[in-house]
């Protein structure tokens, strides 16, 4: 690495969510050097923000823990957080990639003791909880963050508070002079695992997200249900903290809609079923209405659907609601037509959850790179002709976790094939 380059046998993985992590460990354990870059301060991506996975209702951090252990023990893996891809030059087997780093203001010798957070006074919106609560300006992204290392928010840099934070660190890990930087590496193949973002629910104006109180989206619901979320796992309404017992889920909020996301986002039906299970467990008298067009519980997930369908307190209403408004009592009210009964309804709830879909991440990584994308922005997976640019996970299409891992494992193989091809040249 003296010339700043890694060997052409190195694989670059862009994005440290479940797909990127999986691609990384799978390729590394197959004997290849892997550089994993993630633009945020911690690995884990969207799944780290999930409370539980469907259909087993187990915790994502369990699988992440295993993968982190695999990374920690494997010297063939290098992880760069707060790093994103700038320019890519070269060809299969021999790419030169410039990587841009953002300042973390905390050095690698951070022991995660938390003294800096103790010294910090100002608070920022907590990105881990989608801004539903606050965190200190010197913070650990979350308890299962990897690397387990603090971050200082740029907003305090240059203030006396920053100096106070620096002074609190007994191992001199705070670096207030930390700057943006960039460096180059040479790699043989690149796996793009840049993931997704929740579709902006405020764009579906008739559903009142951001306007009508207690209308939230599905990723926020996930945080509300999480023990390490803003409410310590109590599912309550954001407006007044009241227990959310009568709850509506609106499927296809954005998905399957030519004005928003024309494709089906695949995960939202199961996501709402999972949320219904959270509620049913938390409140014995919870009443849940799920408004849907088609319940898309494919393959084995069907069993989970049947389980909820058998629950008399979970109602499935085949209807795409027309609008969500503030009702007379102040509760969110869902209006529409029940397509089976032809009844025009206006139902009030404690909480309405929009099952918003996934769209390919707009972080712009790889935007300078000529990746073949479909009309929705997903990177088209290459089959049998490894070109050294490989998509994994939701970057390649709307997939659930299991399919993302499947896609990432396949991507690891494609990267190996690309390297083999490069070596054959």
């Amino acid at each position: 690495m003296s010339n700043g380059k890694l060997s052409s046998r190195t694989i670059l993985v862009v994005g440290g969510g479940i797909a990127g992590i999986s691609a990384t460990v799978e390729a590394a354990e197959a004997g290849y050097e892997v550089v994993l870059v993630e633009s945020s301060p911690t690995l884990g991506g969207r799944v780290a923000q999930l409370n539980r996975y469907f259909p087993k209702l187990c915790q994502p951090t369990c699988g992440l823990e295993i993968n982190y252990q695999r990374i920690k023990k494997n010297r063939a893996i290098k992880v760069y957080t707060m790093t994103s891809v700038g320019k890519v030059e070269g060809e299969t087997g021999n790419f030169t990639v410039s990587l841009n780093t953002r300042p973390r203001f905390v050095k690698a010798n951070c022991t995660a003791c938390g003294d800096c957070a103790g010294a910090a006074e100002s608070e920022i919106d907590n990105p881990f909880n989608y801004g539903m609560d606050k965190t200190k300006a010197a913070y650990l992204p979350h308890a299962m963050a990897f690397p387990l290392r603090y971050v200082i928010d740029p907003s305090v840099i240059g203030s006396p508070e920053a100096e106070k934070i620096k002074a609190s660190c007994t191992v001199d890990a705070v670096d207030l002079e930390d700057k943006e930087g960039s460096f180059e590496i040479g790699v043989g193949a690149i796996i793009w695992a840049t993931g997704w973002q929740p579709y902006g629910a405020e764009k579906i104006t008739q559903y009142g997200y951001g306007e009508v109180a207690d209308v939230i989206n599905n990723v926020e619901m996930e945080r509300l249900a999480a023990m390490n979320g803003p409410t310590a796992g109590r599912i309550v309404r954001p407006s007044d903290g009241k227990e959310a017992k009568r709850v509506a889920f609106i499927q296809c909020a954005g998905s399957r809609d030519e004005k928003h996301l024309p494709y089906c986002s695949r995960i939202c039906c199961l996501g709402s079923l999972k949320h219904a299970a959270y509620l049913r467990e938390q409140y014995a008298d919870a009443e849940i209405d799920i408004y849907y067009i088609d319940i898309r519980a494919h393959d084995k997930l069907e069993g989970f659907y049947q389980k909820l369908k058998n629950d008399p307190q979970v109602n499935f209403i085949k209807s795409k609601p027309g609008s969500i408004v503030r009702g007379e009592s102040g509760d969110p009210t869902v209006k529409g037509e029940n397509t089976i009964t032809r009844e025009i309804y206006a139902n009030s709830y404690d909480l309405v959850v929009l099952a918003t879909g996934m769209e390919p991440s707009a972080r712009g990584e790889g935007s300078s790179v000529n990746l073949q994308r479909d009309e929705y922005g997903f990177v088209v997976p290459c089959v049998f002709e490894p070109d050294g640019m490989i998509a994994a996970g939701v970057a390649s299409g709307p997939l659930d976790v299991s399919m993302s891992v499947q896609s990432a494992t396949a991507a690891a193989l494609r990267a190996i094939q690309a390297i083999a091809q490069g070596e054959g040249k």
Partner: protein, 300 residues
Amino acid sequence: MSKSYTYYPGCTSRSSSMHLEKSLRAIAPKLGMELNEIEDWNCCGTSVGHIAEGRLPNAALSARNLALAKDRGEDDVVTACAACFIHTHDANEQIREDEGFKADLNEALAEAGQAYDGSLLVRHVCEVMVKDVGVDAIKAQVTNPLTGLKVAGWTGCQTVRPFAATERGGMFDDFDDPKFMRDFIEACGAEAVEFANNTSCCGGSVAVISPQKSLQLMKTILDEAKEREADCVATPCPLCQQNLEMYQDLINKEFGTDFQIPVVFYSQLMAVAFGLNPLTDAALNQQMIPATKLVEMGTK
């Protein structure tokens, strides 16, 4: 800098919404809009006109207007009436996209020695104000800010639907929660009250045929305006203005309410805010329910 637009006033500009026409004419120069009326324009055939003779004869009405407009040589046709806008815009788009339809209409137009190829763009005057003029330019003309006036901005449906958020409709606002009325009201220095019924329908032409079906729709709008303590309702739509103003007595009778809420056009607000005469320029003398507070603000 003034820009010249081909202007289609529509039938109601001569009758029920004469006050829209008057106030618009008064503010247009201040906003740099030169409105040049299509010579010898005819009715656009909106609403239920197609039922009588069919789609093609109905569209022929618009086609004649557009052919006459085309002769003026400008690219855009601007109208202030929501119904005229939808109808003419729609006919125009169909002529542009449907070759057979275009040929049929031109065959009819040829009877009067006219022709039209679909090349104009039909625009709503509010879109022009948002996109070409800009809210800042409106604000810049305000000499008499309507401070303290609480206005319920009610966009109605047709001004933003179905075209506002389309490429050809100018992408100027949202279908369900448009903001431009709020912007206009605030530009005039008035307070735009929260108004959830922003795009609620008044019942449109169904109100004429069977008012009973529409009264409840209108009452909902008035209820909210009253709840929000609005001094008046402001709208861009002639039919909305007329229905809501005209049927208030009937609503009061039907539901035992006591609404006396003035319903004005955004252009009337602007005229007053621009320091023009509230009665003649803003044509507030033509309100059936007097907009007393607004008139007073203009006479100070």
